[in-house]
């Protein structure tokens, strides 16, 4: 039976750089490829509604007549299904997370 097995690890980390950051003073750098937040580009969209049809949580609402695209951020699970099916590539995911959703209203794109 061994004693002081932890001592080596504790000593090693007593002098090492901390693995944590001082969040929120030092913001977390987003990891490339992370599914952070859905963004919409109005110029390319033809309002076909495929994204709303394929959304597994029903978070998107598209109105072709009024040319409106809207998202309920509280319902969106950032699965990227809409990004995959968008024929005009007007939807994209940014790796950085956005701010928290504070209202239950749809956010217009």
């Amino acid at each position: 039976m061994a004693y002081f097995e932890m001592s080596r690890l504790a000593l090693q980390w007593a002098f090492a750089k901390p693995p944590t950051t001082r969040y929120p003073f030092v913001p977390r750098r987003p990891i490339a490829g992370s599914r952070g937040r859905l963004s919409f580009t109005r110029d390319a969209c033809v309002y076909c509604g495929v994204c709303a049809k394929k959304c597994p949580t029903g978070a998107l609402a598209v109105n072709r007549a009024q040319k409106r695209w809207a998202i309920d951020r509280l319902l969106c699970i950032v699965c990227a299904c809409c990004v995959e099916v968008c024929p005009k590539k007007s939807l994209a995911l940014s790796p950085a997370h956005g701010g928290p959703a504070v209202t239950k209203d749809y956010e217009l794109g």
Partner: protein
């Protein structure tokens, strides 16, 4: 000797999961433990009537926050069997890699909780420090840290390129070194050994008769591992189930320590053998029939029953999670133990009550 009933849980500082136990004690010895669950039932099985079989992958993945990927993988395997589909070989390897990532992060999480339960808080923090490395790797390859969102019916949604594969291999070396440092403490330090050795012994025959699964069963000497069925890419990889003969709490800790290195080895093997090609096949038609899909999660065997009638909604969906299979063993372990050992013994089966109740 008078008997007292001590209510324990569902909210308790040392309990990681909402399970309630009525502990019948004589002095400091537990003579009987009566469990009750049902505090976090979410009714996920019923949702098959509202979501179609493709959308339901996202719900299956949310049954558990730790084994999330393997839940979606098992569900997809079942649906693919019903549809007569086979995911491409590259997708099978990618599922294997992500499944092993899940296992590494689950075991490191459990080791941290175990260290915390025995009062070794610095070791708990080191275990979770190592776990952060694997979580970053999961986020970089799938886009999510807890919910991978990478599996779909017919294959997977993301690929791992050559550069990402090199990054994974480099990280695996670092994680292996870090894991060796902490498992040396778990397996060698006298305080953990004294606390866990000979406590909560589950004999080989008892473990088998009570229907245990996963590390709880393997720590009692039964070499049963569902990955040996050869689902995903496991049939083409070399590994042997990690077993221990002692059947005590220390053996269950040791099995999980060794399985981290087994998973790292499986990731290396999979990355060396992964074939080029498509990552998904086109899905056509609706599932029809009944199938049982099984897979090995970090906690043990998960069983899915899928029943479909040819429409886009499944008719019936039923999950038996590994914790459900291990609960009878937990009750047996608690009979005759010291009251102070209850938190550690509950933890040794790695309970996930929210996944048990779905």
């Amino acid at each position: 000797m008078p008997r007292t009933i001590i209510p324990f849980g569902p909210q308790h500082p040392v309990l990681p999961e909402p399970v309630h136990l009525d502990l019948v004690v004589e002095d400091e010895k537990v003579v009987e433990a009566r469990p009750s669950v049902g505090f976090v039932h979410r009714g996920l099985e019923k949702l098959v009537e509202k979501k179609d079989f493709g959308e339901f992958v996202y719900i299956a993945e949310r049954i558990c926050g730790i084994c999330s990927f393997i839940h979606s993988q098992t569900y997809c395997q079942g649906i693919e069997t019903l549809l007569g589909l086979k995911a491409p070989p590259r997708a099978q390897y990618l599922r294997t890699i992500w499944g092993e990532f899940s296992r590494i992060h689950s075991h490191l999480l459990w080791l941290g909780l175990m260290a915390d339960a025995v009062g070794f808080e610095s070791l708990f923090m080191h275990s979770w420090r190592v776990r952060e490395r694997i979580l970053d790797l999961i986020e970089a390859t799938t886009g999510g840290r807890v919910i991978f969102g990478a599996c779909k019916v017919g294959g997977v949604r993301r690929d791992i390129g050559a550069e990402a594969a090199r990054h994974i291999l480099a990280e695996m070396d670092g994680i292996e070194q870090d894991a060796r440092d902490i498992t040396r403490v778990f397996l060698g330090d006298s305080s953990i050994k004294v606390r866990l050795s000979g406590v909560g012994v589950l004999a080989r025959q008892d473990a088998y008769d009570l229907g245990c699964v996963g590390p709880t069963l393997r720590a009692s000497g039964v070499a049963q591992d569902l990955r040996r069925l050869g689902y995903a890419a496991y049939g083409e990889l070399q590994f042997q189930p990690v077993t221990r003969a002692e059947g005590d709490a220390f053996a269950r800790c040791a099995v999980r320590c060794d399985e981290i290195f087994q998973s790292i080895d499986l990731v290396r093997q999979a990355l060396a053998k992964i074939p080029a090609g498509e990552i998904a096949v086109k899905v056509a038609g609706n599932p029809k029939g009944e199938v049982i899909a099984r897979a090995e999660q970090p906690r043990g065997e998960v069983t899915y029953l899928l029943k479909a009638n040819g429409t886009k909604h499944l008719q019936r969906f039923r999950v038996r999670t590994p914790t459900f299979a291990n609960l009878p063993a937990m009750i047996r372990l608690l009979q005759g133990c010291d009251l102070a050992d209850v938190p550690a013994l509950v933890l040794t089966i790695d309970p996930c009550i929210s996944c048990t109740e779905r």
